[in-house]
């Protein structure tokens, strides 16, 4: 029997939805199923390093950020503006329900800790250890001005929709969250 496969596309940047996606990824991976996780739009936020608002403009001129996946000539003021308003960071994600101006995620985190349920950051690390492949959408990379060194996981692949279509046709389960 050939290896079973699953793909999970995370489009949402909400804490609860990201938590679901990573619990499924870990579950599939521990049962020996090959998992590929795709990230689009706000889905990046859970993998982004939290940085200061003031660092945004300095980092624009950093040559490290000139990755092969981006067209820097067409960048303008909007990329750093998006980055300022959407800083992400795994500890700073909002919730889709009962956000209560940031009190919701704080209380939710306490609830998970009390019940000794794994938190999002722990789940991301363990997914990485279990061999889950992380793939990113290239146009979101370009349009939102993100670079590979902004992310907390190493070995991230930046791919296009052709690769996604191929992966989903091969897989037994495709989730869109």
């Amino acid at each position: 029997m050939d290896k079973k496969k699953a793909t999970i596309l995370l489009q949402s940047g909400d804490l609860d939805k990201a938590l679901c996606a990573f619990i499924f990824a870990n579950g599939y991976a521990s049962l020996g199923i090959e998992v590929k996780m795709w990230f689009m739009l706000w889905g990046y936020n859970c993998l982004k390093k939290r940085r200061s608002i003031f660092s945004v403009f300095n980092r624009r001129t950093d040559p490290v950020r000139e990755s092969a996946y981006r067209v820097l000539e067409t960048d303008n003021i909007l990329q750093p503006m998006v980055e300022m308003l959407n800083r992400g960071g795994v500890q700073h994600l909002p919730m889709s329900k009962l956000n209560l101006m940031g009190i919701g995620p704080f209380l939710f985190d306490k609830m998970l800790k009390k019940k000794s349920i794994m938190g999002l950051e722990e789940l991301i690390r363990s997914a990485d250890e279990l061999g889950v492949k992380f793939k990113m959408c290239q146009i979101c990379f370009d349009a939102m001005g993100i670079s590979v060194d902004d992310l907390i996981v190493p070995n991230v692949e930046v791919k296009g929709v052709a690769e996604y279509a191929k992966d989903t046709m091969e897989a037994h389960v495709n989730l869109f969250i």
């Binding site: 619990i23 870990n26 521990s30 049962l31 020996g32 019940k115 000794s116 794994m118 279990l130």
Partner: protein, 74 residues
């Protein structure tokens, strides 16, 4: 029953027992045994699901209150 390896996941909730078992099984050789102990309400069920594809075998299940201890042959 003595086993080659031991995992203790008492107090850990749903995906954690499965993840630790999967990580342990990866570094074990064929024929070795592992004992996993946990007290999650769906712990036993999850471990049975883990083994149900036929690659691993459950040798022994023992219960003590809410704590369940399962021996698996890889």
């Amino acid at each position: 029953m003595t086993t080659d390896r031991e995992i203790n996941v008492v107090g850990r909730a749903c995906p954690a027992p499965l993840i630790s078992l999967a990580k342990e099984v990866r570094i074990m050789q064929k024929g070795q045994t592992v004992r996993i102990t946990g007290n999650d309400p769906i712990f036993e069920e999850s471990i049975v699901q883990f083994c149900c594809d036929g690659t691993h075998e459950i040798l022994e299940t023992s219960r003590e209150g809410k704590t369940v201890s399962i021996v698996i042959k890889v």
